[in-house]
Symmetry: C2
Subunit: 427 residues, 2 copies
């Protein structure tokens, strides 16, 4: 029997408490599965309030950096959050002090992952982050280990449960975006800064991490083409449904000849596809490999139990002696790839309202045609006063051509509202 | 850089050729991901025919046992198949000679897994089998590693693509069982002995392996309650669809107070559930853990690429130094659990044809009632000549009570055909 593996846990929010709870409950199973006792030496949090789980057995540190560097800590478990500040300071201190690190911090890794991975590997330490992406779904492990014999050709995912909850509620209860947003907020589903959720930032952090692992590239969060769900109206959801689609905040990462495409934007996906059928707060990740084909993983993307389960899997790997580079291959071998943010060509859904003047529709069609965007379907409907809503589905086109057309549309003088443009992803 | 990892591959069918192909194609990536070269030293197969992949670089052995014990082999890759015979002989020889073993052989492990795991662990060797269950889906890894912080509460799966193809074709093309069977056979989807597929044996092998890993029990294939899809008629599929269900060959494993339930039988599942929506040859595994909740994994369950991808993931784990016990915890700590094969109580779908005599329906109802089986819905339909088809949906009942009722039904003298009884699983 090896020595116990001793943890220092910083951050005792929902996830931290969940991790403490599992380690207390399952001491015997964890020892049977890893061949080592897993123990908590010390904890740290902003306040010593009662959290419903006994903490008296553990040393207390106010300062997470002190916790991270304690002699009786083998693994620093960072559950504070924040891209910089105490989380990053303590992570760096832990690695430099020869500790392994397990974190659930997507923002820190998406923005400083390369730097931290280099530090970890330079110190011969591991830095693991299964809980940072898609909660309880073991997607990092699936990519770095289960599918390691493949070249990953594309990764897609619905990875923000709050956005999916809002979009699902809009459709199922016929709510406006604002009504569904308020409902989600009232239920505590949204971050203190809701833009992290509905602006797609949280999901984009996750996508950037998956892309780095999938394509052997340095994580590049600012390369993600980002659009939140605030532009989606109930009208769009109804129109999409009529055509057999659902609207999802969909992340896509793909390596192309022009560079790495990373996008996190509302998209239309077929209603009958696994992604289209995903309702409420559940997450889904779709992995495509050259040999394995398509693998779909689905599960809870947040919450105490699922996220703690993912943190535990990293701790268990370390206890078992599994030592992999942070992004699946050594950080100094990760390539930099140019961002190809115009994305891969796709059909687009366009909705706009026109002033009801003779020739208005023709002007829009001409504008699109001049930019090389060919129209698959076009429909004027629900004529209202002097405004005419128009729905257009394009043939497959580049985003550049579409943007050129959209830039010229206002000059026609026929637009009564800004156009909504959503990619159609035939997954 | 460590020494190369040298493989001996026995069996050059579809999967073996796929493994050779990936190792030749991806030498550089595999080295980047594992820090070691992965090389093939020698191969073995029944004949030296051309297989579309160059084999001249490798030594040839007619005898797999000789291959398995060669000095220049570190890992024996067993892709011959068969529960005993050369596959088992060579596996045992390899372990005793100090080689690690990777296999795709579900029959061998389901029937001799405990004995082989004990042998491997006694020799301090690893025996891995990701490819044996659900093809390219990394489900063994998800259970033993990704969800290792959980107590698994239930495992379910549709794990025989050929059966799911037949059932899907029956529904979508309105074919009889025999027509769909013949079509699948003509397409080469069925094993030489098709009973392995349609009799549920292949899928039951996989279920027994998942159960052992999930519940820390010794693998017990003969504890699986087994029923093939031959009893399912197009009539059942239509009746199920009318009630909002699909019929799937569903595996379920669950630890109960009465013991381990393992069943692989045709079941009704909600048409809108992930399992219900699974069409054609794809596999799906549903894992439920006490902390993570429900995780659904979906992907190709067979074929060269997906299965070779799974074999590679085991080889890569070994190259990276990951050394886990075969069933996730040491084989000598695996418990034996009694089989509780009456299963967990559930509602059942019953279909039978009665002779059209006064009081026939009452006799059936009485028979069920006497056994304690309560009827939720009962319907006589499509009256044909002097035969009356009857459809019954029971309230939740134990399988024992249902079997008692079914045993008494023939004595009523009103049955014109054997009843079909299918569990309804509200997944």
């Amino acid at each position: 029997m090896s020595d116990p593996l001793r943890l220092g846990i910083a951050g005792l929010g929902t996830v931290g408490v969940g991790v403490v709870r599992i380690i207390r409950q399952k001491a015997a199973q964890l020892e049977a599965r890893t061949g080592r006792k897993i123990e908590i030496s010390a904890v740290s949090a902003r306040s010593q309030k009662d959290r419903g789980v006994p903490l008296d057995d553990y040393a207390w540190e106010d300062d997470p950096v002190k916790l991270a560097t304690r002699d009786d800590v083998d693994v620093f478990v960072e559950l504070m959050g924040g891209a910089t500040g105490p989380a990053k300071d303590a992570t760096e201190a832990a690695l430099k002090a020869g500790k392994d690190v397990v974190t659930a911090n997507k923002a820190m890794l998406a923005e400083h992952g390369q730097e931290l991975a280099l530090l970890a590997e330079g110190e011969d330490r591991v830095l693991r982050f299964e809980a940072a992406v898609a909660g309880g779904i073991p997607v990092i492990k699936a990519l770095t280990e289960g599918l390691a014999g493949n070249d990953i050709t594309r990764v897609m995912g619905v990875m923000n449960g709050s956005c999916n909850y809002i979009l699902t509620r809009m459709e199922n209860a016929n709510l406006t975006y604002q009504e569904a947003f308020d409902e989600a907020d009232g239920l505590g589903y949204l971050e203190a800064d809701p833009e992290l959720d509905v602006g797609g930032i949280d999901a984009a952090h996750k996508l950037a991490l998956l892309a780095a692992i999938s394509f052997g590239t340095q994580v590049k969060f600012d390369g993600v083409q980002l659009e939140g769900i605030g532009c989606v109206s109930i009208e769009d959801i109804h129109q999409a449904a009529d055509m057999g689609y659902k609207i999802k905040l969909l992340g896509t990462a793909q390596m192309t000849g022009r560079g790495l495409v990373q996008s996190m934007t509302p998209c239309l996906v077929p209603a009958t596809s696994p992604l289209g059928q995903l309702e409420g707060g559940t997450n889904m990740v779709v992995l495509e490999g050259d040999h394995v084909g398509q693998i779909v993983l689905r599960g809870a993307g947040a919450g105490e139990g699922p996220t703690a389960s993912a943190v535990l899997s990293d701790i268990i790997d370390i206890a078992r002696g599994l030592r992999l580079p942070t992004f699946g291959q050594p950080a100094d071998t990760l390539k930099t790839a140019p961002s190809a943010n115009s994305g891969t060509p796709a059909p687009y859904y366009l909705r706009m309202t026109l002033h009801d003047k003779p020739g208005a529709l023709a002007k829009v069609a001409t504008c699109l045609g001049d930019a090389g965007v060919s129209i698959h379907r076009m429909r004027q409907y629900d004529h209202l006063d002097d405004k005419a809503p128009v729905l257009i589905v394009t043939h497959t086109t580049s985003r550049d051509a579409l943007d050129a057309a959209l830039a010229k549309l206002p000059k026609t003088g026929v637009l009564a509202s800004d156009p909504v443009a959503l990619r159609i992803e035939e997954v």
